[in-house]
């Protein structure tokens, strides 16, 4: 499938004219998974892939230590879906990157992407990276040596995509429509269920499984600290021993450090090799920040971190007066 001709030309021009130092975007990974691809030469543009299956961790490479050490005089072009422009906004507001370091190629008319895990579960016999076509409310999956299979969209969509209300890039230097995308149907726009309170026993079962590979942190575009508190030995905020208690500490600190910043993109959950429901935590925090402080990360590139400001009308945080003394 690769990319539409006009976009392909644009990217090649950017690289051959030297306007950008590289182009960062999604590509086909191994199996039914996307991967990130960094094109430094016009020829390397061939590898980009805009199929709804190609989505993974692209923006995290903007803030990696290697990227920051790279020749930073010329901007990086980024192929960004609408939700990714939201993440870019958040990174801009934190000055993790500067606007003039970026050339944003927005991808418009996004109807959501596929959760490779759901696909693997649905079609376990799938080998390699399949062709995916969108036909109305179904995805048509065509794998190596397989008859095409139609699967209803809502069975494969990534959890973050159901209930998503941005289908166009929030900002861009150039924008291209994703191939033959049709507007989202009303049935799909219905919101994902609110995170429900499952209690400690449920979360203990989850956190106990964590293997502390740090994939959730490393996949997060917003976890770009060079010196992470979770790696610290003195003081050791989270002991290295893998146990329910320490894993809980690890996850709660991670979530707290992201509260008010997290855009609930769900990369943490996608990255987790042991399927922890991390997007649930992210969603919950996003919802709380919105309810408590009307804060929505990633919509204002000049916005301030809601944990570093206050409003005189903030809900009361103390509860002593109410007890009638």
């Amino acid at each position: 499938m690769s990319v539409p001709a006009a976009l392909d030309r644009h990217l090649r021009d950017l690289l051959s004219s030297g306007q950008v130092r590289c182009v960062l975007g999604p590509a086909a990974g191994c199996g039914p998974r996307g991967t990130a691809h960094l094109a430094r030469t016009p020829e390397a543009v061939d590898r980009f892939e805009l199929s709804p299956l190609a989505c993974a961790n692209v923006l995290v490479h903007l803030t990696s230590e290697e990227a920051r050490r790279d020749d930073a005089r010329r901007p990086v072009a980024v192929l960004a879906r609408p939700c990714e422009t939201r993440m870019l906004n958040q990174l801009l507001s934190e000055r993790a990157i500067e606007r003039d370091e970026l050339h944003v190629v927005g991808l418009g008319g996004c109807r959501g992407v596929i959760d490779s895990r759901k696909l693997r579960e649905r079609l376990p016999e799938l080998r390699g990276f399949p062709e995916v076509r969108e036909e109305g409310d179904t995805f048509v999956i065509e794998g190596e040596g397989m008859e095409p299979v139609s699967v209803p969209r809502n069975e494969l969509l990534l959890d973050r995509c159901s209930g998503c209300d941005i289908s166009e890039p929030l900002f861009h230097d150039h924008t291209f429509p994703l191939a033959d995308a049709a507007p989202t149907s009303a049935a799909e726009a219905e919101c994902a269920p609110e995170p429900s309170d499952e209690g400690w026993d449920y979360w203990a079962d989850q956190f106990e499984r964590c293997i502390r590979c740090y994939a959730c942190r490393d996949a997060c575009p917003l976890c770009y600290c060079e010196d992470c508190v979770l790696d610290r030995l003195r003081p050791m905020w989270v002991p290295r021993s893998v146990s329910l208690k320490n894993n809980t500490a690890y996850q709660l600190i991670r979530v707290l450090h992201l509260s008010g910043r997290c855009t609930a993109c769900g990369e943490c959950e996608q990255a987790c090799p042991v399927d922890l429901p991390l997007l649930t935590l992210a969603r919950k925090m996003e919802q709380e920040m919105r309810e408590l402080y009307g804060a929505r990360s990633g919509f204002d590139p000049e916005g301030r971190h809601p944990m570093s400001v206050f409003d005189p009308n903030d809900p009361e945080g103390t509860d002593f007066e109410e007890q009638g003394r």
Partner: protein, 352 residues
Amino acid sequence: MKAVIAREDVGRLLAIAARRDELHVPVLDGGGGRFVPLNAEDPVPRDGLMLNGSSARRPPKEVLFAQTAPLFAFELRRGDFSIDELPPEAATKVLFGVRPCDGRGFRVLDSLLLGKCGTDPAYASARQGSVLVGIGCGRPGSDCFCTSVGGDPHGTDGLDVLATDLGDALHLESLTDGGEGWLRAIAAAVDSPLTPANPETDQRCREAHEEARGRVPRHVDLEPLDAVLERAFDDELWDDLAAACIGCGACTFLCPTCRCFDVQDEVRGDRGLRVRVWDSCMFREYTQEAGGHNPRPRRGMRWRNRFYDKFRWGAHDGQPACVGCGRCITHCPSGVDLIDLVERVVESGGAA
């Protein structure tokens, strides 16, 4: 010794085994599966047991080489301090349902943790007398490539007993003295569900082995790799290869042969515990030196280390330290494909 057991009797076999020794079996746990100890009184539900389809996502390595192993406890008392050695593991461990690739993985772990560089006491005591009952892979997973690295879906290397799935029954064959002893003991139990093997089951077994070999989905030619690695260490290609890697430890923690660890003192007040915990060469911290220097500052260098370890440094008996289980490929958060990388390294030919 060879024996056959009807599929529906596997639960009874496990109950007998669990009464004898500390038995670990692969079960679905909501996270792709892992090995857990089986309680003889409270056996796992049948659909939770992972003996049919794919291997447990977390390899059995952690049963014998725990992710967190306390080495000793210490306590400060009136200016003096005391050390409490922690008693070694007493029970014999039996692992039932080990995939042949993971069985070979223990060979790699043995060669390093019980090898000429010294013995790891925690691993040695857990490994002492352990019995690995393997189960062949009738349906290899989507990224399996064991046949390319010297293995086989019914390979016996490293296992003590091999079970072959015959559909309605399992065919068990002992491979070592330890396996023979275990199998005989199970057969001798009063309520043993084992029946002797016969030429017909042997034949079905051979057919199953042949058929499974053809089902291994992925292949890679390692023949030219060694010569390229000889030259490729200082090549610039590593940074390019690692471009999509996010630097987490998922691949190393899911790998049946990765065995790097860190030793930490975890102190609270006057008491502490010295623990050995898994570490990963994919972490930047792994090579961070006290003085601030890091000899592997880039992910490309860390990737190169893992790659060389799997295909050159960690190799023994002429086989790579990679056993082809495919976990690092299937579960890589950023979709990096080890086989693709091997091919790209070979293609590059190493530095001119």
